[in-house]
Symmetry: C2
Subunit: 411 residues, 2 copies
Amino acid sequence: MGLDQANSKSKKKIIVLGGDGFCGWPTSLHLSQKGHDVTIIDNLSRRNIDNELEAESLTPIQPMHTRLNAWKEISGKTINFYNFDIANEYDRLLDMIQTEMPDVIIHFAEQRAAPYSMKSSKHKRYTVNNNMNATHNVLCAIVESTLDIHLVHLGTMGVYGYGTAGLKIPEGYLDIEVKKEDGERVEQQILYPTNPGSIYHMTKSQDQLLFQYYNKNDNVRITDLHQGIVWGTNTKETNLDDRLINRFDYDGDYGTVLNRFLMQAAVGYPITVHGTGGQTRAFIHIQDSVRCIELAVENPPANNDRVLIFNQMTETHRVADLAKLISKLTDGEIAYVSNPRKEAKENELQVRNDLFLSKGLQPITLNEGLLQEVTEVAKRYKDRVDYQKIPATSLWTKDQQPGIPKWDKGD
Amino acid sequence: MGLDQANSKSKKKIIVLGGDGFCGWPTSLHLSQKGHDVTIIDNLSRRNIDNELEAESLTPIQPMHTRLNAWKEISGKTINFYNFDIANEYDRLLDMIQTEMPDVIIHFAEQRAAPYSMKSSKHKRYTVNNNMNATHNVLCAIVESTLDIHLVHLGTMGVYGYGTAGLKIPEGYLDIEVKKEDGERVEQQILYPTNPGSIYHMTKSQDQLLFQYYNKNDNVRITDLHQGIVWGTNTKETNLDDRLINRFDYDGDYGTVLNRFLMQAAVGYPITVHGTGGQTRAFIHIQDSVRCIELAVENPPANNDRVLIFNQMTETHRVADLAKLISKLTDGEIAYVSNPRKEAKENELQVRNDLFLSKGLQPITLNEGLLQEVTEVAKRYKDRVDYQKIPATSLWTKDQQPGIPKWDKGD
């Protein structure tokens, strides 16, 4: 078998749902760069939510067609783009699948911020309605198409809940023992019991039941990636041209903890730690995130396999420790503020990620160089910051308080 | 405290969502009869589905206002009725809750037939969309109202899956042991791992995650009733007048196994057993079902209790044994037909129902008199039968076959 033939066999037709977002965009570029035939479907909901929240990406992300034209210009590769809503336009989704006949569908098309999902009844209801119908429509359309399509889904470590001291969180399935009536103990392996911490995380737990069911009933091949908190901004591909720049969320709803700390330090805002910062979280750099998705695409489950679950993370850190590290690196001041979330003050978290390691992932872990890179990005676009959007103000219940530090801008 | 005061304290304001359906209607009458102040919300979706399927209730159920006027005439009690769709009219639901300030909301407002949920993509999508948004809207509105409302939900035994030999299915929560990294075993109690057998059952598993979350985050008091297959038609109250008659589904989508067998025997149609009939199922008579709901209303969980789960069933039977029993009682012929469902050929099922027994339930179990009563109802309305609607034709996958017996009507 010649090299060309090998390449053509490994080249896949891939539809990326939600390919305009923070993970979807660099993933689309990465897979296109690797020679796959990529089509993006996105209703630009994330940009519309920017409008609603009056909080833009810190980085000046370009309109979709500017992005795609730049990519064509630089790489010579074409990514197709269709703007529609998979949660509400089922017939169009089905038609697209039947026409494109993809080998793989990667599903990022869900509302993905916990604080946004908790802002109000409207936001809770949007998150449940959008995420449930989006995931279900994809599964339903795959079955209706009768095509053998591998579905790769971006889930979250958050479905596991806060972790259990002394128990390394396994990859999706937990070995248990149950005592029968006659005293006999039986061993079973079950989907890890979920304990989601927000409406958003809960929808990802519900997704798991959809996957379990469609896998069992219809043999749909599914990979569910339980991803940690993504940090960093750019990947090898998004760095190729300013017009390809990735989104950087710094606001209280969409900004995630490590990136927020780095950005706060870069612009001279206090590093806001919620509560004591005793929460331990799992992390992954955006460059590893896109690499993991590539590995998931290359290593599909077989036709009668159960849902394949990877923990997509490379390290765990206590939030307070991260704040201290960044404070040390940047001379930034830490502000311990109220925690708008209802959660345990402290938790242990140990996580297995053997599966991605076995597939060849070489983890990028926290290092000064990469932290510095995020800081540089934040400094470069400092003038775009709306300081009022930095605090986390979305409350889990009426008994919580927003996480607003005392701060004089000092200029 | 005088008797009047005691009565007034135990009299509750109750909203019944889905109060026009097979379980909702007799429950509404029963609670009204017991002195509770009952308001029904229903969008009449079940009657509209009758129109779609061209399959009416075997019994001539009356329009809602005929039913309610008859009830007023007979009992002197008023049940209010509002026709709207709780899955799509959130503001109206919230307004109703804020205005009525109910003590209890009973939630029957979900699409409840497994075969209907499997008919086509459209039916799968309707079931997921309707059931998820209905349940979520109720929870969201309860929290937004800030009222302390006890939510009673009709779930299903089907969330447990097919049962495990030698393990009595507990009431919602399973005791497990997990081995930690250091070899130490820790005991935990988890939500029983679900293994739903249809899209419909899957939505009830997803409901459980909604309940778990809203109970944890917002302390909503929730009782989830995991109900077996309901049989029988009338209750003490629906028997009071022909205009109060309850629905009797005999068609392949909405008819449930025991009632279908009785009806088939009554009209001289073969008793259709799917596969070998080796499936073991849990059952409850409609009279016990309404009594259980009354007991659930009278025994709410406390404010910081987790979700209270009852198994609402009184006995288990193997489907083939029921067919033989009914064949013997009625001289009806059994036809073993293809199973349109994808399921295990045989399963064991043992179920705990200690909780309802401890609250005073005195189970009605299968007896000739009650079986005879169902047969009488079926015979009385024999002329209303559309024989073409009897077979189960909704297929779980394209590899299944419809359950159509060879049959000459013989007249």
